[in-house]
Amino acid sequence: MSPLRWIILLAGLAFVALAPTQMKNYGVYLTTLWCVYLIAGMGLNLTVGYAGQISLGQAAFLGIGAYTAAIMSKAGVPYLAIFPAAAALCFVVGLLLGFPALRVQHHYLAFATLGFNMLVFLVLRNEEWLTGGTFGINNIPRPTLFGWRFNRPLDFYHLTFAVLVLTGVLMAFLLRSPWGRAFAALRDNPIRAESVGINTTFYTLMAFAIGAAYAGIAGALFAPLVQFVEPAPFGFATSLSMLLMVIAGGSGRFFGPALGSVVVVLLPEWLRFAADWYLAVFGFLIVAMMIWLPGGLLSLPERVRR
């Protein structure tokens, strides 16, 4: 990266870190939510944008992470153990979801992942003994880490932001490593990849599992943020928003989800005056964007230059 980009990145990070100190509770809540979605979006960007798999099931992993955090923290497990547990559980489930991807592609995979999302949703709703069913789980405590209680909205925001930066750095590291190149090779041409020794089975599974683990971490932050979990936020609609987040920003671009999650999470708030019509316009804009700018918002400069 050029020095200019570093400066822009650091300035952006400083802005995101400090802006909520000037906001009221709701503003802090929204910004925190944006960070949470962004973490899940980064994971999905790995699966969809870098490794070229299509997934309509990211919200299910967010849900698994959130319920893991809710159930464990209610049982008194410290958050220091909850974050890795949520990530690990989602990693394993993501690995399982990767198996259909080895057999089917494209639209079949879209439906398979979508179906997985529905299945998780049904389990969350029907298995009341574990998940509280439709009543959900209320009064989830905010985390305490290293003796520090993140109870106030702003404190919790800073924790979330720290996790966001950490996961972002890890993702950048992963993408710069040979793994990142293997994921891209898998996306661009899986058959060629096999013939040059790239184990596409392994990398497909990893793309799903790591992407899922990111959603798991996001979920483990979602639960204490809202302090309440129930099945609805982890339905297909959220998976769809997340996919839109990745695509709208620019799939396979590191900062794509950051921009995309602004569009999906924050823009509706700013466009509140348009009420229902906002989402209608949003939907049609997606169609228009796929027609004229399939590379997402971040591909705009290249399009203009060309």
């Binding site: 259909p100 639209h107 019509w277 169609v287």
Partner: protein, 292 residues
């Protein structure tokens, strides 16, 4: 046993509606490789068009249906092809998937904006009499739905196999280049597929809305079930859509009754998962070569 038969009949009626929507889906896929995620909205939209013609213009149901059919052909047939699919079909499948997902959000929210998020009643084309056949109670509406759905599927099958146009459409579905060489007007055949899809959606709206009630998000579950039905039956086979639709409709009722109502919605999904693992081409489908 009576319960069982009653469930099967009711399930077949619901499945028939899934099948009609699924049929449109497979036709589009065969003709142009279009994956349409806005399928459910294409059933919801005609329902609201009919409501508009009936309540605002005061037309009786049959006239309202004809007007809706014409409008559907124009907007969801021709318009959908020209405005959305034609510019996108060059790109990969994912682009089209995302675009039609966007379209479904747009259409749904626009209807919500115009007609509010309220639920509306919808008159049935069939009388609400109840027939008792050998102790099994069956509603005239269910029988009517099954008859209409089966007639349409069979008629379409006959059209595709027996008429020149139908065969030309099949030729396009099997091999575009060869069809072109044979002098078939490929683009026109593809357009026919879109028009038939729109008409099928309008008919399923007519059949299913009296039971489901008209609501802006009614296409949500319907669209999904239709996809699953299409894949279960076989993506590239018209009769497969009927089989898949009925299978899903009937099994949902049976699972909902005898196993667990909570997991009724998961039936289509589990069937689908089983099918893609053991028979990815669907129950009646044929294998498509994986392209390098």
């Amino acid at each position: 046993m009576t319960d069982f038969l009653q469930l099967v009949i009711a399930g077949t009626a619901t499945g028939g509606c899934y099948a009609l929507a699924a049929l449109g889906f497979t036709l589009l896929w065969q003709a142009s490789g279009t994956i349409n995620f806005a399928l459910g909205e294409m059933v919801m939209l005609p329902a609201f068009m009919m409501l508009f013609f009936m309540s605002v213009l005061g037309l009786p149901l049959p006239l309202a249906f004809l007007a809706t059919l014409a409008l559907s052909l124009l907007v969801m047939g021709y318009g959908f092809k020209r405005v959305v699919v034609d510019p996108l079909i060059r790109h990969d499948v994912i682009t089209l998937v995302i675009a039609t997902l966007g379209l479904s959000i747009g259409v749904r929210q626009a209807v919500k904006g115009v007609a509010s998020a309220q639920v509306f009643t919808f008159p049935s084309v069939f009388s609400d009499t109840l027939l008792t056949i050998g102790g099994v109670r069956v509603s005239a509406g269910d029988i009517g739905t099954v008859v209409v759905a089966c007639t349409i599927v069979l008629a379409l099958q006959a059209f595709l196999n027996r008429t020149v146009t139908g065969r030309a459409m099949q030729a396009v579905a099997q091999n575009r280049d060869a069809a072109t060489v044979l002098g078939i007007k490929v683009e026109r055949m593809v357009l026919y597929a879109f028009l038939i899809n729109a008409a099928l959606a309008a008919v399923s709206a007519l059949l299913i809305t009296p039971v489901y009630l008209a609501k802006f998000d009614m296409g949500d579950t319907l669209g999904l079930k239709a996809f699953y039905a299409a894949i279960i039956g076989g993506f590239n086979n018209s009769r497969g859509a009927l089989l898949g639709g009925v299978l899903v409709g009937v099994l949902e009722n049976l699972v909902g009754t005898y196993i667990s109502p909570g997991y009724k919605e998961g039936v289509a999904l589990v069937l689908f998962m089983v099918v893609i693992v053991f028979r990815p081409q669907g129950l009646l489908g044929t294998v498509e070569e994986r392209k390098v």
